[in-house]
């Protein structure tokens, strides 16, 4: 969905305002403000909302979606999209589960991550190598991955109760911080460093911003894209591991509709599907915003259906203000 002349037009004005070396986009500031507002509202409505215990719960709830969203953000910055993340998460975790009998958490997790990497790489080949639009390629991959997960597992679930190492990823803790949260923080830091402080990161934004110009300046955009698809596959596999370890349940029907949740977080975080825009920090904030909203509404006893409507409007409310200067939006 990257049209060269459209990018040129929208580059004038819009979200490009940055502040110093930290490149804090005005969008990010909006998100931060919204998050703080929500936390304050939460505290008013429920005195226990800002306790460490509650914040831990909120963070744990968003771990899977967030980590996958980091991968998705990078793909979207490069100007593409990955709808297959739920399929990669489930197929990779089923593949890993085949090795549960060995009792080796290392083997199970390695296989899971490896399959995620391979599937992500395949997405990259389809998009860059063959030239299939990423929406279609990853949509097809989603269907194929889910079907394969069902077929190879014959529809059966796995219980990793015996593999303590695996369970540790969902239920263990490091210095009293739950492992999933530690992994989330590490993943966020690594992603921020990759996107903001490396040459690769600059190439990534250049590729998404204007693919033709990037190529002309010597960037091998095909490499950039394959890399981010591969990273996204890895992220999907990792997210799948954390969720499955927490529930001690690996099943082929897992993560229904996750791709839409991850996308919602990604676009709320400021990533635009034309490419060249978006930050990991934005995604982190967006993920926390949605997590806080869901938790707050749950605690207020509001149905998940109402939560859906609220989430939809929040996305709209956040996305709207920054867009008035754009001439053309696709």
């Amino acid at each position: 969905m990257s049209v060269a002349n459209e990018n040129l037009v929208s580059r004038s004005g819009g979200l490009g305002k940055t502040a110093g070396i930290w490149h804090l986009h005005s969008n990010t500031i909006n998100l931060l403000a919204l998050l703080l507002l929500l936390l304050i509202v939460g505290r008013i409505l429920s005195p226990t909302f800002l306790t460490a215990e509650n914040l831990k719960i909120v963070l744990l709830a968003i771990v899977g979606t967030s980590i996958i969203a980091f991968g998705m953000t990078m793909v979207v910055i490069s100007g593409e999209i990955d709808l297959s993340v739920a399929g990669i998460a489930v197929l990779s975790s089923i593949a890993g589960a085949m090795f549960l009998d060995t009792g080796s958490a290392f083997l199970v997790i390695s296989v899971t991550l490896a399959v995620g990497v391979v599937l992500g790489f395949l997405n990259g080949i389809l998009v860059v190598g063959i030239g299939i639009p990423s929406l279609i390629a990853t949509l097809a991959m989603l269907g194929v991955a889910r079907a394969l997960a069902n077929i190879t597992s014959s529809g059966k679930a796995f219980y990793p109760d015996d593999v303590a190492g695996y369970l540790w990823f969902g239920r263990g803790d490091i210095f009293n911080i739950p492992v999933p949260i530690v992994i989330l923080i590490v993943a966020a830091l690594l992603s921020i460093i990759l996107t903001k402080f490396t040459v690769f990161g600059r190439k990534l934004y250049a590729t998404g911003g204007n693919v033709a110009a990037a190529r002309l300046s010597g960037i091998r955009t095909w490499r950039v894209k394959i890399t981010v698809f591969t990273i996204c596959g890895l992220a999907a596999a990792m997210g799948g591991i954390l969720e499955s370890a927490r529930l001690s349940y690996i099943n082929p029907a897992a993560f229904p509709g996750m791709e839409l949740r991850v996308l919602a977080v990604t676009v709320l975080g400021g990533a635009a599907l034309i490419g060249g825009r978006g930050t990991i920090i934005g995604t982190v904030l967006a993920s926390m915003i949605i997590g806080v909203i869901n938790s707050l509404l749950n605690q207020m006893g509001i149905s998940i259906y109402v939560q859906q409507v609220v989430t939809a409007f929040i996305i709209l409310a956040v996305v709207l203000p920054g867009l008035k200067n754009r001439l053309v939006a696709k």
Binding site: A157, L247, N298, I304
Partner: protein, 433 residues
């Protein structure tokens, strides 16, 4: 939007007659421990339904009960005797390996509406039967398919086609229409939702093909038979157990999707039982749509919002496991007021849940066995036979035997003898390690 009584339908009238009969039976069998458990539970259902209709003194329970329109659903749901005077005792049923799950299964009702192994009806003819359901990758549903396929395999002149419609009701209708176009001999379905399945079933019946539904119902009035599960006895026993071991407390609900039979009847029955118990308070009400992660999240959030939860009510096994995981993760298993354990009530006798009952984490589970596919297949075969003039047709409403609840230690609650996990032979699903 509430369903109002199907006052004009025969079904309603016959149901009232059934309830009357059940009430009478109930009154006389309330303390007769030798009565089959089916009759005992029917009696209790009748009693509590009547009591709830008269009055529900617990305001908080009544509010939920009225809001979601449970009265109409419960009134429309049949409760009655077993076909052919069948009496079921724990221990009955055949043991085999599930063709899809590869698990050892003991199916409780293989003697219900019995059919001998070997060729059926016209031995020179091959009969094609279509079996359509959802969720080949769901442990309850794959067990349903297991029993159906097993029954079909017992008869060499039955060809069964098993199709998963992946929770797309429109697709299930298309599958049925497809079979009608191919002139299949019989159709058995597990409908996820009632309303959309009525028209395709009607079309099949109009084309002369017998149709039997399993567990959940369709909106078709013409359907040949409905094999009904014991949703009512499920919810009822969850309420009975709770009343037995506690006096009150805050209850949070993890329910299936709004509008599904499973949710309406189980939750409604539970609310009927505690409807006039003063101590209980409906604190949280979540629809977690049979998804473990959603139930996990809802329970985690509820634990945050309230520090005085006494009871977690779950309409299904997935919900129960999700909420148990959440409670464990938050270290709140013994955080009920007074330092007691949070009472966790569950449905669906999966091996996973049973393990938790045995270890005391889940307090009770009301079995809802998926191992009823074979009953549906036998019913449809008998309908085909009736069509060909070879035998009598089975009744339109085929009740499955009410099953007693499972508790860690054997108890007798209002005449119902509970079973311990070790003695429950019918648990489905893979064994949790």
């Amino acid at each position: 939007m509430t369903l109002s009584k199907h006052a004009a339908s025969l079904r309603g009238i016959s149901r009232i007659a059934l309830i009357a009969g059940v009430l009478i039976t109930g009154a006389t069998t309330a303390h007769a421990a030798d009565e089959p458990v089916h009759t005992v539970l029917n009696g209790l259902i009748g009693n509590y339904a009547q009591a709830a209709r008269d009055s529900m003194t617990n305001e908080s329970v009544k509010e939920l009960f009225d809001k979601d329109g449970f009265r109409d659903y419960l009134d429309a749901y049949p409760v009655g005797e077993l076909a052919g005077g069948f009496v079921w005792e724990p221990g009955m049923g055949a043991t085999f390996t599930g063709p899809y799950s590869d698990l050892e299964i003991k199916a409780p009702f293989t003697d219900y509406l019995p059919l001998k192994e070997g060729p059926v009806l016209n031995p020179d003819k091959t009969y094609r039967i279509g079996f359509v359901f959802h969720g080949f990758n769901h442990p309850w549903l794959i067990s349903l398919a297991d029993t159906a396929a097993w029954e079909a395999a017992r008869h060499p002149n039955i060809d069964i086609e098993v199709i998963d419609a992946e929770f797309d009701d429109n697709r299930m209708g298309q599958v049925i229409d497809n079979w009608v176009a191919q002139q299949y001999d019989g159709i058995v379905l597990w409908p996820a939702r009632e309303a959309p399945m009525g028209p395709p079933v009607d079309r099949a019946i109009d084309a002369g093909i017998p149709v039997v539904s399993l567990d959940r119902r369709t909106s078709s009035q013409k359907i040949s038979s409905e094999v009904l599960g014991n949703f009512y006895a499920n919810g009822l026993q969850q309420g009975l157990y709770l009343k037995e071991i506690s006096d009150g407390g805050n209850v949070i609900f993890n329910r299936k999707d709004l509008g599904s039979t499973a949710d309406s009847i189980r939750t409604g029955a539970f609310l009927e039982v505690i409807g006039s118990e003063p101590g209980y308070e409906v604190t949280g009400n979540y629809h977690t749509k049979s998804q473990r992660t959603l139930a996990f999240q809802a329970t985690a959030d509820a634990l945050q919002a309230y520090d005085d939860i006494s009871v977690v009510y779950n309409t299904g096994g997935e919900e129960a496991m999700g909420s148990l995981d959440a409670i464990r993760e938050a270290n709140r298993l013994n955080s009920a007021p007074g330092g007691g354990k949070i009472i966790i009530l569950a449905n669906d006798d999966s091996k996973e849940v049973l393990k938790e009952v045995a270890s005391g984490n889940v307090d009770m589970v009301a079995p809802y066995t998926p191992l009823i596919g074979d009953v549906g297949i036998r019913a449809v075969i008998q309908h085909i036979g009736a069509k060909e003039g070879l035998n009598e047709a089975p009744p339109k409403l085929i009740m499955t035997p009410n099953l007693p609840m499972i508790t860690a230690k054997p108890m007798t609650i209002e005449g119902v003898k509970t079973v311990t996990p070790d003695n429950w032979l019918y648990a489905y699903g893979p064994a949790a390690k």
